[in-house]
């Protein structure tokens, strides 16, 4: 039998261990030999404690038991993100992991909503037509109903967890399945003089690790893709000016909210992520518009509970590498790009890179095939560029007039693709709807309305529903949502009964 293909992952942390586990779950064990090198001396960034619903399919693919994983990572449920003060102080909305209404008479729901609103017969917000929003506001959670006719089937969910514990959980999972872990710092990278491919890494101990493919999970340093292969960095700070984050945990408070909160501040925004044992907090800010001391005061002043640590500072720049795969080096995680955690996209990008890479992975005896490298990089660009537009949009549509950061982002020139999306929605209620990359039409809708971008016309197809019929349907939908959300199990009770840390491990409750 042929020698297995050697994959070397540089860096532990969330990216390294998600990538190692994902490859172990998607590749045939006999054909690939996977080694991960990490150093206890190098800390991990460990932000990104909030996730998107896609992570459930990743864990399912690995066969991970949900309750056990939540218990191990002090996990809680996330039904969406609440954006507070983004449009203007006092305004708030939730970007839910769920749908807004139904498609009626061949027209998407927002057209019917817009028609009734423009006719003056309905003054509800789109938010009132999302079960996930109502459940989040009620601080409730149950697993979604599997009957698609039930209003309780119209949402999905993600998790808040301790990313360090998640990495540790996956490390145990992966090493139990034959992934080799080496401890040590890389001191030298040797490349093939002709091809430029990386041949081996030398550790501080003198040990050498040879490989066929190297996966760079070294974080911001981008040791292999950036430093060794010299793949240039694309700077997006013209659109996303935040370049610092201060992070600090605080004590838990009641109620246990099933959503992340992002609150706009003078120099950026603060996050609030409730875990089982603490609340993760942070302030993402622009050093051009806000000093560190001011950021520290703002962050500490916004805490709901007692601070459990000193605020820790991170420096970054929004952007990505020109390519995610060059030669025989693939970067996953922060080594490939950085987008602020406004929409919890970091862990999704690790997952996407891992699954794309698994499908395009060379086999024993092959070199990295440029045809597959091109496809990986095409998908890498689509993922990053679409997230960028969505993030930029949160900033640009604001009414925080007189605050320098917010004045800047409101008036800066937009990417053409984004400007067209906004004009189209304003003119016709047609919302962005693409197949590839993150953020569905419903995601866009929540932020469009929340940021005050409202349609001035609806699709003519809506008139296939008589006006009286429409209002009756809207009323019925809003009522079904309100009634069902009101009797959801409180999130705190769900966690206590399902996956509280420190409780004995028992089989997951069956999902009705």
């Amino acid at each position: 039998m042929a020698e297995p293909y050697r994959i070397v992952i540089l860096g532990g942390g969330t990216a390294g261990w998600m990538c190692a586990s994902g490859l172990a779950g998607l590749l045939a064990a006999a054909d690939y030999d996977i080694t991960l090198i990490e150093s206890d001396e190098i800390g991990t960034v460990g932000v990104g404690e909030a996730t998107l619903p896609h992570i459930k399919s990743f864990n399912d693919m690995l066969g991970i038991d949900e309750a056990e994983f939540m218990r191990a990572t002090r996990g809680t449920i996330k039904l969406g993100i609440e954006f507070a003060d983004w449009l203007r102080p006092g305004a708030r909305y939730i970007h839910p992991f769920g749908t807004f209404g139904d498609r009626w008479a061949s027209a998407d729901f927002q057209h019917h909503w817009a028609r009734a609103r423009l006719a003056g017969t309905d003054n509800r917000s789109l938010q009132d037509y999302s079960f996930a929003v109502a459940a989040a506001r009620a601080n409730g959670f149950e697993h979604p109903n599997t009957d698609p006719k039930s209003i309780r089937s119209t949402y999905s969910y993600a998790y808040h967890f301790d990313a360090g514990l998640y990495a540790a959980y996956l490390r145990a999972w992966a090493t139990a399945r034959g992934i080799r872990r080496l401890e040590g710092k890389v001191v030298d990278v040797r490349r093939d003089a002709q091809s430029g491919d990386v041949e081996r890494l030398t550790l501080a101990s003198g040990a050498e690790v040879a490989g066929d493919l190297f996966i760079d999970c070294s974080g911001f340093r981008s040791l292999l893709l950036g430093q060794t292969m010299g793949v240039p960095w694309l700077d997006w700070s013209a659109w996303l000016p935040c370049d610092r984050a201060l992070a600090v945990p605080c004590a838990s408070v009641e109620p246990l909210t099933p959503y992340t909160r992002a609150t706009a501040q003078r120099g950026g925004w603060t996050w609030r992520i409730p875990l089982q044992h603490r609340i993760g907090n942070g302030y993402v800010f622009s050093s051009t518009f806000c000093g560190e001391e001011e950021a520290r005061r703002t962050l500490l002043g916004a805490l709901d509970g007692e601070a459990l640590d000193e605020p820790r500072l991170l420096r970054f720049q929004a952007g990505r590498r020109a390519a995610g795969w060059a030669g025989n080096v693939v970067a996953v995680g922060l080594a490939s790009g950085f987008l602020e955690p406004l929409e919890s996209t970091s862990i999704f990008l690790i997952q996407a890179a891992t699954t794309d890479l698994a499908a395009l992975m060379p086999r024993c005896g092959e070199r990295a095939d440029p045809r597959m490298v091109r496809e990986f990089n095409r998908l890498f660009e689509i993922h990053h560029d679409r997230i960028r537009d969505f993030l930029v949009f949160h900033y640009t549509a604001n009414e925080r007039i007189g605050e320098p950061l917010w004045d800047h982002v409101r008036t800066m020139p937009l990417p053409d693709s984004l400007a067209h999306k906004l004009a189209l929605f304003r003119e016709s209620a047609v919302a962005p709807d693409y197949k590839l990359g993150l953020f569905s039409r419903d995601s866009w809708l929540s932020v469009l309305e929340g940021q005050g971008v409202l349609p001035s016309a609806a699709s003519p197809l809506t008139h296939r529903l008589p006006a009286a019929d429409l209002q009756a349907r809207l009323d019925d939908l809003a009522e079904r949502i309100a009634v069902n959300a009101a009797d959801m199990t409180p999130h705190a009770d769900f966690i206590a009964g399902y996956c509280a840390a420190g409780t004995a491990i028992r089989p997951a409750a069956s999902v009705a």
Partner: protein, 491 residues
């Protein structure tokens, strides 16, 4: 300016009435007036539309009954197109059918397992794993049921004689309330923002907020039309007697000077023969068509065609639909598909309300251009990958290849994967049929397929092949099915 509460369509034959009926049906509740200015018909006895399965949804939206349609148009079903080498190059034939290949294995796709098995000596081609392809090649139709839907998609299109189809659609459009204007010719009055009015030859003047151009001569359109290179530029149409047993698919036979399509309808085989005027005279083309079809041809007409796309299908207040927006090479029967894409996207963007429609117009142009490009790539792949003999096919192979297509072929060749793309209206199995049919066996497959033991995969394959064989045997022949439909409906 308030919304566009009226639209006037200019065109002829089935495309005019299909568009008028669809727009009227969808927009009447919003109070939109739909007018159709009908130019003299051009569809003759020999002309026929081969449709893709997607047309069924448009028919359903208009409220067209399938049996009544086939009765009225004397049409037939089609499960796909069989591509046959009659050029002497010795290429194997392949069927582009409208069904899925195989069924998923343990939640994973079928195709990578098939690719792997081929590398390890599997002798069974894709068609035996397809309900639709197996039925077509076995002389039967395939109508999906609950079990077959679980296995995989099995769709069908139609062969619709153009003149009779137009007549049925015109009656439906009139019934739905489309206002009819017959005209021998129209003159276009332009204003500040596009077309102000049409002057008909009888002196009537038709004003409208919006106009739709469905004419192949692009009577109302003003912007540039970007030509696409195709190996052929003339198409001969004819009819021949039908055989005793009606095939349930079309056959496209490549010969040295072009290709000959045989499209069964209820009463005839309709013939299309495409060639290039540079190398073949009309007389020689007729002789070739006759010889390749092996049938005596009747009602012969020959017309030029020029494939291409409008740079901006919606300019000012004039919306190009169908041929005015995009003309595909006739090889795959995409003419009504182009029209359907236009209609669907016009309905999504129709500006019945609002102060202006600049963004909706930009969106229509953006989305349609992207959709058209994907479909054109399918045809470009056919031209680039075929290995038929003759000058016609040599020139087809020399045509330029778009970068997106080169990447799609590269990735498929390397790994058997199709890059996911926006605005792709053809299903992945159509692409697999085409690429595998032209001789590409992917060099490798998704490594995830290697996680399953080969014996387990073999067992799955055996089960699939058995299911397909049995399901096909339960299906009716094409003739039996058409005979049933031709009985007038009872209660």
């Amino acid at each position: 300016m308030s919304g566009a509460r009226d639209i006037t369509l200019v065109g002829r034959d089935a495309p005019l009435w299909l568009a008028a009926a669809a727009l009227r049906r969808a927009l009447a509740p919003a109070g939109v007036t739909v007018r159709a200015v009908e130019l003299p018909a051009e569809a003759g006895t020999a002309d026929l539309y081969a449709t893709l399965p997607a047309i069924e949804a448009l028919h359903a939206q208009i409220g067209i009954d399938e049996a009544a349609l086939l009765r009225g148009a004397r049409g037939a079903f089609t499960l796909g197109q069989n591509f046959v080498d009659a050029s002497g190059a010795g290429r194997p034939s392949f069927l582009h059918s409208y069904g899925a290949y195989g069924t998923g294995i343990n939640g994973g796709d079928f195709f990578p397992h098939w690719v792997k098995a081929r590398h390890y000596g599997l002798g069974v081609g894709l068609d035996d794993f397809s309900l639709t392809a197996s039925a077509a090649l076995g002389g039967r139709l395939f109508f999906p049921d609950t079990d077959s839907e679980v296995y995989g998609r099995s769709d069908y299109g139609y062969h619709l004689p153009a003149a009779a189809y137009a007549k049925s659609l015109k009656a439906i459009a009139r019934h739905l309330g489309v206002e009819l204007f017959e005209a021998a010719s129209v003159a276009v009055e332009r204003g500040g923002e596009g077309v102000a009015a049409l002057r008909l030859d009888d002196g009537r003047r038709v004003e409208s907020a919006l106009f739709a151009d469905l004419t192949c001569e692009r009577l109302l359109s003003s912007g540039p039309f970007e030509a696409w290179d195709t190996p052929g530029d003339r198409v001969l149409s004819a009819v021949a007697p039908r055989p005793a047993a009606l095939p349930a698919y079309a056959e496209i036979r490549a010969s040295a000077g072009g290709w000959t399509g045989l499209f069964p309808s209820l009463t005839h085989i309709h013939i299309e023969h495409v060639f290039s005027h540079a190398s073949t005279t009309d007389e020689a083309a007729l002789r070739a068509a006759q010889s390749i079809a092996g049938l005596s041809l009747d009602a012969v007409t020959i017309r030029p065609f020029a494939a291409g796309v409008a740079a901006e299908p919606w300019t000012d207040n004039v919306i190009a639909l169908g041929d005015a927006a995009c003309v595909f090479d006739p090889a795959h029967g995409f003419a009504l598909h182009a029209l359907q894409l236009c209609i669907v996207h016009l309905l999504a963007a129709y500006p019945a309300d609002g102060a202006g429609y600049a963004a909706r117009r930009a969106e229509y142009n953006r989305v349609l251009r992207s959709h058209f490009a994907r479909v054109a790539e399918f045809q470009a792949a056919h031209h680039a990958l075929q290995r038929y003999s003759g000058a016609f096919w040599d020139s087809a192979r020399a045509l330029p290849m778009p970068d997106e297509l080169a990447h799609r072929i590269d990735l498929f060749t390397a790994r058997g994967e199709l890059p996911p793309l926006e605005d792709e209206s053809l299903p992945p199995d159509s692409w697999r049929a085409l690429l595998v049919g032209h001789g590409i066996l992917p060099q490798s497959w998704r490594p995830a397929a290697d996680r399953l033991p080969p014996d387990e995969v073999k067992a799955h394959f055996r089960k699939m092949l058995g299911f397909v064989r049995e399901a096909v045997l339960r299906q009716p022949t094409h003739d039996a099915c058409l005979a049933r439909i031709l009985q007038p409906a009872h209660g």
